[in-house]
């Protein structure tokens, strides 16, 4: 007898469970509007999980790719570095701007760098014939910039070191500039006017796309020497260094050497702090991570609040449901439902409610993620683990907040429940 009883109990539990599901579905269908309102909280909570996880991970992938494209072998030497507060800004503003001497020191002194580019940047209008584009990024760079910048050429070529040295007015144009001025025309050999000077187009860049809604194609590159002749030396000068050895150790050695050369060039005494900063892609990635980490915590907070509120709504409705169905519970108990049977019936119902909310939330969240991918072009993708986590959370919210109403239902006295009108 006892040998069979376990198997039999499992079979009996299955029979009851199937029945509980049928019943819960029936109840959900019978009160469509009420069920929908009940699950809103869970729905919004899970929708936020799916959408936010997709967006953050999409952003992570995107930023990681962008930063990796800037090159793991390059680093930047800058007067400002990474500024995260006003105090740092004030301190950086007091630093002496970089000059040609600093650049020469780096180019001549460094043994571990394969290329050092100096660069200034400002926004100016650009003219082609009678057509003018405002606020185009003008990048003044030294020759050899193609080794320190990951800029792919689509048509023509980069400008040469000799052209830069001879202060020739040559320009390489970004995809957007090319597209708006020339459409399908060949850009090479066309003339642009920038800052009152005429430039010969020698090449155009491949499309880079947009980052966080900002186009990365609205720029042109001209020799730094010509830049300074046209716009002076007021724009911030900074350097981009490519380490000959791109391993982490090689990067560190190169950065140490650059630091030493810069300190000497800028006449810093031993013990005096650096009046410049060195930034590499790893630091940018770390900065980005710490920023999105904070975002993640805020997200967890928002999601928890909406899930708890959703749970309370479910509990409230389940208590109403138990009261409404007191007589039904009495009938069930009279014909043999145990406490656990009644308890399970109501738990399955509240779990089903919240999982239904979760499922709709997943669908909406996935829809939102897709919408963002289509509109922003970010590689936003629904993460499977977030779907599992969302549904799991929804289910546990339903069970947790369904416990009290279900326990109350299960403890009803059959006689009293049968008499209930």
């Amino acid at each position: 007898m006892s040998r069979f009883s376990f198997g039999r109990r499992v079979a009996e539990a299955r029979v009851k469970f199937v029945e509980d599901f049928r019943l819960a579905f029936g109840t959900l269908r019978a009160n469509k509007l009420r069920s929908f309102l009940t699950i809103l909280g869970t729905l919004i909570g899970v929708c936020s999980i799916i959408a936010l996880v997709s967006i953050i991970n999409g952003l992570n992938r995107y930023v990681a790719k962008e930063i990796a494209e800037e090159g793991s072998a390059t680093f930047w030497v800058d007067r400002f570095g990474i500024i995260t507060n006003a105090e740092e800004w004030m301190r950086a503003m007091k630093r002496r701007p970089f000059d040609a001497h600093d650049y020469r020191s780096l180019v001549e002194g460094s043994t571990t760098a394969s290329e050092v580019t100096a660069r200034r940047w400002r926004q100016e209008g650009v003219k082609f014939r009678s057509h003018r584009l405002e606020r185009i990024g003008i990048l003044g760079v030294t020759g050899g910039y193609e080794d320190t910048h990951s800029l792919a050429i689509a048509e023509g070529r980069h400008f040469l070191r000799e052209e830069a040295d001879r202060r020739q007015a040559v320009v390489v144009i970004g995809y957007q500039v090319r597209d708006e001025f020339l459409g399908a025309l060949d850009p090479v050999g066309k003339e642009l006017r920038i800052g009152g000077r005429t430039f010969d187009v020698v090449g155009s860049l491949a499309k880079r796309g947009s980052m966080l809604g900002e186009s990365q194609d609205d720029l042109v590159l001209i020799p730094l020497s010509v830049f300074e002749k046209s716009f002076g030396r007021s724009d911030n000068l900074h350097f981009v260094v490519r380490a000959a050895d791109s391993s982490p150790e090689g990067m560190e050695t190169a950065q140490e050497e650059v630091r030493a050369i810069m300190r000497m060039s800028r006449g810093l005494a031993p013990g005096e702090p650096d009046d410049f900063d060195i930034v590499d892609s790893k630091m940018l990635m770390d900065l980005y991570r710490s920023f999105t980490g904070g975002f993640f915590i805020v997200m967890i907070g928002i999601v928890s609040v909406s899930l708890v509120v959703g749970g309370i709504v479910i509990m409230n409705i389940m208590l109403v449901s138990v009261t409404e169905r007191t007589r039904e519970i009495g009938i069930r108990k009279a014909i043999g439902a145990r406490r656990s049977d009644v308890m399970r019936q109501f738990l399955v119902e509240s779990a089903l409610l919240s999982v239904a909310g979760g499922a709709i939330g997943v669908a909406l969240g996935a829809g939102l993620a897709t919408l963002i991918r289509v509109t922003s072009g970010m590689p936003v993708q629904v993460e499977w683990w977030s779907v599992a986590a969302g549904l799991g959370l929804a289910c546990s919210v339903g069970i947790t907040f369904g416990l009290y109403p279900a326990a109350r239902a299960s403890r009803l006295e059959p006689i009293a429940a049968l008499r209930y009108e």
Partner: protein, 234 residues
Amino acid sequence: MASLIEIRDVAKVYKVGQEEVRALDGVSVSVEKSEYLAIMGPSGSGKSTLMNIVGCLDTPTSGSYLLEGQEIRDRSDDELAAIRNRRIGFVFQTFNLLPRADALHNVELPLIYAGIPARERRERAVESLRAVGLLDRMHHKPSQLSGGQRQRVAIARALVIGPSIILADEPTGNLDSRTGEEILEAFGHIHGGGNTIILVTHEDYIARHAHRVIRIRDGRIESDERVPVGGRQA
């Protein structure tokens, strides 16, 4: 051989505020298998309390109740539920069917709590509905059935698991007299098939269908008499 029901000196005391109400005050009854028994009494007499105790919906404050030789007092809620499920079939005055479920599903309900698989459950429920003549109504909801039909569904539900006792509490109370008569006939058939029936009523003409009538007043048994066969209405 032990009686089917052996109630000895059972009392049931309710506390209403400060006051104690003795709903049953030393009741002793034994019922044999296949009896057709009516419990009669005015409202407040304790007949419903007695029925609840016999039906294991309630437990006595003192005294002993043996059902098929087993003591019912001090049983846990779950054990009582199992006894109600397998040994007792209830028929109520207000039918007590689940409004959203069709006739078939209402009849299947006790079998679900007994953990019987769907296919067997359905066969047995259909058979039970056939026995009360409602095969053509099995997919109707209670609201689509007449009072008499609802009560027949309830009878089918009470019978489906093959209980030891059918316990009917004013089963014709909500029916017109012709339909009530049909229901009583149905009980006659069930009894003819060897079932034990306990009928709670306050109507003499209903009690006359039974073979034995117990009258209760103020929580005590006033009379317990067997109805001579000749004096019974068919």
